[in-house]
Symmetry: C2
Subunit: 275 residues, 2 copies
Amino acid sequence: MHKTVAIQGIKGSFHHIVSQQYFKNEVDVIECPSFQDTVSALLNEQADVIVMAIENSIAGSIIPNYALIDANNLQVVGEYYLDVQHHLMALPNQSISDIMEVHSHPMALLQCAVFFKDYPHIKLVEAKDTADVAKHIQVNKSIGIAAIASDLAAETFSLNILNRSIQTIKHNETRFVIVQRYSEEINKESINKASIKFELEHKRGSLATVLNVLSDCKLNVTKIQSLPIIETPWKYAFFVDVTFAEYKDFEKANTILELMTTHIKVLGAYKNAKK
Amino acid sequence: MHKTVAIQGIKGSFHHIVSQQYFKNEVDVIECPSFQDTVSALLNEQADVIVMAIENSIAGSIIPNYALIDANNLQVVGEYYLDVQHHLMALPNQSISDIMEVHSHPMALLQCAVFFKDYPHIKLVEAKDTADVAKHIQVNKSIGIAAIASDLAAETFSLNILNRSIQTIKHNETRFVIVQRYSEEINKESINKASIKFELEHKRGSLATVLNVLSDCKLNVTKIQSLPIIETPWKYAFFVDVTFAEYKDFEKANTILELMTTHIKVLGAYKNAKK
């Protein structure tokens, strides 16, 4: 089924790549200037789903995106891991010695900082979005300026790749979630991962007790993240991802956690994208 | 003792405020363009300490800063909580109807987005640093441009505050850590908090077992954060903060964790800044 996907950023961005790969190219993309705007597009039914970056191996979780999912009662229905490769690109017929400035997202500049130590003549300039810089270079025919962006951005905006995979850490995985307004009819057979949120009083051992329950119910914790609850000192919220072999084990743990925690909420149950 | 403190940003920034409050004004400040540069200033002994933002109640942990402390074997020797209040400020003799653009850090713009819904004529522009915008307004005598920054920035750059505390969440706490090259002689009497990092194999129940030990040793977990280890699938690193009444309880837990985990490391033991 053809889906309309809201993404933060423009075509050629990593969000666009994930949309294509997850939905096997059968997508229309709505370009949004912010993650909040992707949520608006979903809520007003312009979009069927959001593809949203949620964590990467360098910077950790993108907590404001968890907050958007939680506050708007959205549902995570899938996940996807993209090995983000940053390429240096510019207008055709330019070499790296022609490049005076590289514009990109601060995170991309950070991840590629070591590469640019060999090119001290190049000035690094922070920009809002990786693909957007590629587009600007094409539109403005910017001589001497390079972007750090994806293969898809180079292709979309007819730029020439000067150096491939210039990021320091070669295996640079970003996790994306697929988000909907409501939960699809769950096919319990294929579900083996879930994202939950719960709150605990700040009492010694309270988290250990919860994790013992998860372990006893044969759930694996693949991610845990505490967050103080704003304006409620001494209470903590936990965002936890679990994997399991049997959906009924997850249901059992969930029933116990409803008694042991406050405000437990299933943000989504979906298929684990990791082998 | 007079300290030389490296901060990310310039005088008038929230880092500068924390430096003054933590060290009771007896500080010289080294302004650094990035967190990485604060570490360089510390390692080459230009600075005695770094004051570094480490988490806030809205965006969560600043994971790259944990990585900087860890990778450079620095020591956390203290912490400080600042209730960050964002004020709208401009050159004197301007009112809010004169303001066409507000420039600030993306996080500050996000936290104040609701306020600006009542002023649709004002364009929001992302900038690198809150205090830096205040400085630019003063230096360039920028009519029609406002900054979102601290009281100290308004005072430092002679700007007039148009609206106080314009952020949506009024109690907006950011946690800072005080970082040194080496651990000071620890006065065990006054130490009641520690930040540790350890790694675990991805095995069901392994984290629960560690948390049981912490609880048995009378340690409270005040923060937990998992992070996949780059290039090592199936292994996870955990950053955990614990509080305790007796330093010997922490030492006992530490001894047990050395047997149960791999790569355990004490990032710092210090005095809890929360009542």
